[in-house]
């Protein structure tokens, strides 16, 4: 329901562009200098990934974010459970052996260098939520305008999670998804190329195109829904094999409302039809000064990961008629102009994407 706020001015803006060939968007200077606020942010889950809480300060628009040297303790059902350990990145990391127990209440307490105590409000860990299947569609999406004011429409591979809500549940369920992806490049199958596996590269990335999706079953008309959890422009990352990994966090209503507000803040376009924005406070407060604002959110949740594997033939990626490999690569194979075979240019995937690894992800098949 929020998009109309963006599109009304967009329409008139587009009219303005098109009628008079002059840009209606221009950069302006704002003398902004907000007060620095403490930010406590963390997502503590049951996954095997590293679990940590990060304590930073809000940045003005001309500063980078600094982390604070703090200490912290995790509480379970109101009792201290264990101290967190500060790592080289000034993160408070959960010690090995930490596990979440469904139905228990957790919170963290953090002491700042100024001896201020920051505390998150206790959260009861919700049961694991399932995702039935994942699937994808190729969809065209409008991506704004280029420097010549021409619209940009791109093809996207959009990953969906199909969620079925149990028939009998006690109250609504609340989901939050994060997603990541990985892909690799193989040269075309060619019996003449031995040692092919040496030329495989793997790439993994968090998806920032669509960083989070939230869902509540509160207002659903059916007990089955397809939710978009990730998307990526149809690009050479789909040349061989591509994984979307959707991590479904089981959260409570408070966390859901927080993420929903964050999502609305990010979606605001600054127009007259935007909801009036406001400072987004989370579930952390100063114990001695509750009226002072603390930003961020500390989430304790059970995560259930689903994967979507996409092969190049499923999306007709052959149209690229190219392949990619690691350096050093072999000379091109195939015949230029021959559409019946692959013509493989020798791209360096690290050069193209800027990152790579030889380590195959654990789930890679």
């Amino acid at each position: 329901m929020k998009n109309y706020k963006t599109f009304i001015p967009l329409l008139f803006g587009c009219l303005c562009f098109s009628w008079f060939y002059s840009s209606c968007i221009s950069e302006i200077n704002f003398d902004l200098d907000g007060e620095e606020l403490i930010v406590v942010s963390g997502v503590i889950t049951n996954s095997t990934d590293e679990q940590f809480v990060l304590v930073t300060q809000t940045s003005s628009f001309i500063q980078n974010i600094d982390t604070l040297l703090v200490t912290g303790t995790v509480y379970k059902d109101g009792e201290p459970l264990m101290d967190m350990e500060r790592d080289n990145f000034n993160r408070l990391v959960m010690p090995p052996g930490f596990t979440l127990e469904v139905g228990s209440s957790y919170h963290v307490e953090i002491t700042t260098p100024d001896n201020e105590i920051l505390r998150s409000r206790p959260q009861v860990v919700q049961p694991k939520l399932g995702v039935d299947t994942m699937f994808f569609r190729i969809e065209e999406r409008f991506d704004g305008y280029n420097i010549n004011d021409q619209p940009i429409n791109n093809q996207y591979v959009v990953a969906y999670a199909q969620v079925s809500v149990p028939d009998s549940i006690d109250g609504p369920l609340y989901y939050r998804w994060t997603a990541d992806e990985s892909w690799s490049f193989f040269e075309v199958p060619d019996p003449g190329m031995p040692n092919r596996l040496d030329h495989v590269c793997y790439l993994t990335a968090d998806i920032d195109e669509h960083p989070s999706t939230i869902l509540t079953t509160r207002n659903l008309k059916s007990n089955s829904i397809a939710v978009e959890v990730a998307r990526r422009v149809l690009d050479p990352s789909f040349l061989y094999r591509h994984y979307f990994n959707a991590n479904a966090h089981s959260i409570d209503s408070t966390a859901y409302e927080y993420y929903a507000k964050a999502d609305r803040l990010i979606s605001n376009a600054g127009t007259l039809y935007d909801e009036v924005p406001a400072l987004l406070t989370g579930n952390v407060y100063k114990v001695d000064k509750e009226d002072e604002q603390v930003m961020g959110y500390v989430e304790f949740s059970i995560v259930n990961t689903s994967r979507l594997r996409i092969e190049n033939f499923e999306i007709g990626i052959n149209q690229f008629n190219q392949c990619m490999t690691r350096n050093p690569c072999n000379p091109p194979i195939g015949t230029p102009g021959d559409t019946t075979t692959w013509y493989c240019m020798c791209y360096d995937c690290a050069h193209v994407f800027g990152f790579e690894t030889l380590n195959k992800p654990s789930y890679w098949e």
Binding site: L10, F12, C14, S18, M295
Partner: protein
């Protein structure tokens, strides 16, 4: 006299002579005995001398007139003989038009012109001129001349009306300068004034009408009806006479502004369209949240605090096309009155202002029409008699189709698939019953539609109708009874994915108004009446839309409220220096069931989690009542005939709110009647002004200060969710408001060049109060409202280059509107960058300013038959100022950059073609 007009009249000779009406009494005129000395006078001077002395008008083209001096002296010869003698040796001839005009032309010209082309035009002008002559030529005699002994004073009663349409001129003014007396006509055009018996000079004016000077000889009490003509047709090269409109030194009511359609038509149009509300925005104290924002704000009040009435019908959304235009068809508007300060007791229910838009009646004489064709829109209005002199009709419609441009954007699928249009239809039937009764039936329909591709869309509709009965009882008492009904609905759809939904909301209203006006003497004008309004707010529904939608339908409960009011108001004069408009209104309100009303835990945030009880009310059950006495008073103290002080105080109650969580209202904002959680809004309005004229009334200046306290407001919580929320009270906070400012106005309203300059300093503040700890906006401190605009400068100039050529210009400067901006950001694990925002409305976008120009000309040569056309060439935003519509922030690497979006960020030239017949 205007030469062009004279030429038309010359060209009309043959039609005139063939007109049966014209042939009725020429001989009488030609028999008029003339006694005048013409020695050493030119022919033109002779005609002018005769015009001054006798009831006859001459029409001619000056260059055809010989410049030689004449030697004749006429001592009682008949006018026919005089004309014959004057034309000896010239090639001039003449014809008589009706019994008062002589049209002079060259014999050759008279014989060759295709006069039939101008027949109706001439007839029209001649009719108007006839009215002028009727006023100019005669000494008006009022009362019984045979009465002996003659009384010392006489009470004159009468009606100031439009000669052409016979419509009463609301707010017409009659003054006797030598007596230092004057009065205003009421809403029915009626006036009463006491003057000493004898002969006096009077000046009569009306909004949008030409001012005239006449002599009146009062013998005793008597009736005097005065016809005026539209100033659009005026024959003299005076555009708008002083005091004809707007606030004046004389007016009783502080902050009352009347605008004629003549004035509105002279404003540079936007996209070729003149508009009532866009013209209002040029007035001091009137502002809006920005371009493309709905509604308007008066002296720091909310949009929903304006009582907007179209011929008595309540209007809940006055905007077309998201506020670019208003719903009022300018061809259907008679005049516009804005009460931004003093609010007479007849009005109530909105705390900030009253916008009273009177629609025209159809002509009782002949079919007339007006229309235009433009790039974006076209319109047509026709009016005329159903039964001549007894009943009339007027109907007008507009259609706008700006989407024809978007269709051409082949390279943008979204725009090609987008669509927007609006249309409206206005109609009115009027039936006279004798001289004292009149019944009017009014109807209005409008629709706006906006769709962006297949992703989202809006539609909103206004539908209203009403019946009013006006009755005169003698010369001192009249009544008006109105029955009105209206419906406003809005729909929104968003077809994007699982959240695809359509939202519907709306409000019905039914009202009954009865007013009795009693004018016992020229010193009192009483209005006594009763009002009743029933609000029926539609349930706010949200339904799944689109095949992929997974939403459940939601619906909020309907709300109903009944508002009753009684009032008495008197405009009275203590003496010639001090006058009052004073009134008292009592309003009583009931919030009615059915409803389920929740009770929330005290001292805790009002939320569904803190609901501790609920009560179910059946249909018609009274849930909550509010009531209040509303004193209204406005005082005018005349320092001398050129200066006055005015002061006013009003208390006004309002029992309805518009709930919004955006900077500007949207079509789908929710109307909410007062209930247990939404209190009555109460405003105390104070104003004080000094008015001073210079050089007669050529220069009019005023300085007004105002102060307004508002209680019972509600403002949206941070992150409020309003749509289809059955507990919408949990999303709003109680608040109070404060507005204050000063308006300085300088106006030159005379001659060819008219200038109007105003500077307004205006603040509008809000503060949340009586809410649970932790939820207050900006910690419970005062903060600027969304439309707070401290500095406003408006300059308008109209140069009536010729009677048919007008150049006009507007310059507008406004402070940028307040905004809430991100002053920092933080990273929310794993990858969100969340902006941290300032306090609400603590920053401002850059100021808004623009210059508009318009050139309007009509050319009778292009007219065929009675068809009259005019063209308007206008340029909006001449120097292509990229005014900020909004400000948004985008992350660029690790930093944020601020950008402004301009909706109309360049100059917009338009050509409009208008016609009338």
């Amino acid at each position: 006299m205007n030469q062009l007009l004279r030429l038309f009249l010359i060209a009309a000779v043959f039609c005139v002579v063939s007109n049966s009406r014209a042939q009725q009494s020429p001989n009488n005129l030609l028999q008029l005995p003339i006694q005048i000395e013409s020695k050493q006078r030119t022919l033109i001077q002779v005609f002018q001398d005769i015009e001054k002395k006798y009831p006859v008008r001459f029409y001619f083209k000056e260059e055809w007139m010989p410049r030689t001096s004449l030697r004749y002296e006429f001592n009682g010869q008949a006018l026919g003989s005089v004309m014959k003698r004057l034309f000896v040796g010239t090639k001039l001839n003449y014809v008589v038009y009706e019994d008062h005009a002589i049209v002079i032309g060259r014999e050759t010209e008279l014989n060759t012109l295709e006069s039939f082309s101008y027949q109706e035009y001439v007839e029209e002008v001649a009719q108007i001129d006839q009215a002028k002559i009727a006023i100019d030529r005669d000494l008006f005699k009022v009362g019984d001349s045979t009465l002996r002994p003659r009384p010392a004073t006489a009470t004159l009663n009468g009606t100031i009306y439009n000669h052409e349409s016979e419509e009463a001129i609301t707010g017409g003014q009659i003054g006797f300068p030598e007596l230092g007396k004057g009065t205003f006509a009421d809403s029915l055009g009626r006036f009463t004034i006491d003057i000493p018996t004898g002969t006096h000079e009077a000046i009569i004016s009306g909004i949008g009408h030409e001012q005239v000077k006449v002599r009146v000889q009062a013998f005793s009490d008597g009736n005097w009806d005065i016809p005026l003509t539209f100033s659009a047709y005026q024959l003299e090269e005076v555009l708008l006479e002083a005091g004809a409109e707007g606030q004046s030194v004389d007016g009783n009511e502080a902050g009352k502004v009347q605008i004629s359609m003549v004035r509105i038509r002279q404003s540079p149009p936007l996209m070729g369209e003149i508009d009532v509300v866009n013209t209002l925005l040029l007035l001091p104290g009137v502002s809006s949240a920005g371009e493309a924002s709905s509604g308007f704000n008066v002296r720091g009040g909310n949009i929903d605090q304006n009582l907007i009435m179209q011929d008595g019908q309540m209007v809940f959304n006055s905007s077309h096309l998201f506020g670019f235009f208003s719903i009022f068809n300018p061809d259907m508007v008679k005049n516009v009155t804005l009460y931004k300060g003093h609010m007479p007791a007849q009005f109530g229910g909105r705390v900030s202002s009253v916008l009273d838009v009177d629609m025209i009646e159809g002509s009782y004489k002949r079919i007339r029409g007006r229309g235009s064709v433009g790039i974006f829109s076209s319109k047509l209005m026709i009016n005329g008699p159903l039964i001549k002199d007894k009943s009339s009709f007027v109907i007008g419609g507009r259609a706008a189709y700006p989407n024809i441009l978007t269709r051409n954007f082949d390279n943008n699928r979204e725009l090609v698939q987008s669509s927007t249009y609006y249309g409206d239809l206005t109609g009115k039937l009027t039936q006279k019953f004798g001289d004292n009764g009149k019944l009017s039936l009014f109807g209005y329909w409008s629709q706006d539609f906006f769709r962006f591709s297949d992703q989202l869309g809006f539609q909103w509709n206004n539908l209203s109708g009403g019946l009013d009965w006006q009755q005169l009882y003698g010369s001192r008492v009249s009544s008006k009874v109105e029955v009105n009904a209206g419906r406003y609905t809005s729909d929104f759809f968003n077809a994007e994915g699982p959240e695809g939904a359509s939202n519907n909301t709306g409000i019905d209203n039914y009202s009954l108004k009865a007013n009795v006006q009693y004018i016992p003497s020229s010193n009192h004008n009483f209005n006594i009446g009763l009002n009743g309004t029933f609000y029926d707010i539609h349930p706010n529904t949200l339904e799944p839309f689109g095949e992929n939608s997974s939403l459940l339908a939601r619906i909020s409960e309907k709300d109903q409220g009944l508002e009753l009011a009684g009032y008495i108001n008197d405009d009275f004069k203590i003496n010639e220096f001090i006058s009052f408009s004073a009134g008292l209104r009592f309003s009583y309100y009931q919030n009615l069931g059915p409803a389920e009303v929740f009770t929330y835990a005290p001292n805790l945030e009002r939320s569904t989690f803190n609901a501790i009880d609920s009560t179910v009310y059946g249909p018609g059950d009274v849930i909550q009542t509010y009531q209040g006495l509303e004193p209204r008073i406005s005082l005018r103290v005349l320092v001398d005939e050129t200066a006055s002080f005015k002061a006013s105080y009003n208390r006004v109650n309002q029992y309805i709110h518009l709930l919004a969580n955006t900077a500007s209202t949207t079509p789908i904002d929710i109307w909410q009647v007062s209930n247990q959680h939404f209190p009555a809004q109460v405003a105390d309005n104070y104003s004080l002004g000094f008015f001073k004229n210079f050089q007669g009334k050529i220069w009019q200046t005023s300085l007004e200060v105002f102060y307004r306290e508002l209680d019972g407001l509600v403002v949206a919580k941070d992150f409020a969710r309003l749509l289809a929320n059955p507990n919408v009270e949990t999303e709003m906070l109680n608040a109070e408001g404060l507005a204050y400012g000063a308006e300085l106005s300088i106006k030159r309203d005379f001659g060819k060049v008219n200038i109007d300059a105003s500077f307004t300093y205006m603040r509008s503040l809000r503060k949340t109060i009586n809410n649970a700890p932790g939820v207050a906006i900006n910690r419970g401190e005062w903060f600027p409202s969304d439309f707070d605009s401290p500095f406003n400068l408006v300059l308008t100039a109209v140069w009536k280059q010729k009677p048919s050529r007008t150049i006009s210009a507007n310059f507008v400067y406004r402070s940028g509107r307040p905004v809430t901006v991100p002053v920092g950001a933080f990273e929310l694990y794993p990858s969100w960058t969340i902006p941290t925002f300032s306090d609400r409305n603590q920053f401002r976008i850059p100021p808004y300013h623009r210059l508009d120009l318009a050139y309007t000309f009509d050319d009778g040569i292009l007219s065929r038959r009675s068809f009259k056309t005019d063209f308007t060439i206008s340029v909006y935003n001449v120097y292509a100022r990229q005014n900020p519509y909004s400000v948004f922030f985008q992350k660029d690497g690790t930093f944020f950059k601020a950008f402004q979006l301009s909706i109309l960020g360049t100059l917009l030239p338009f050509v409009g073609y208008n016609f009338k017949f």
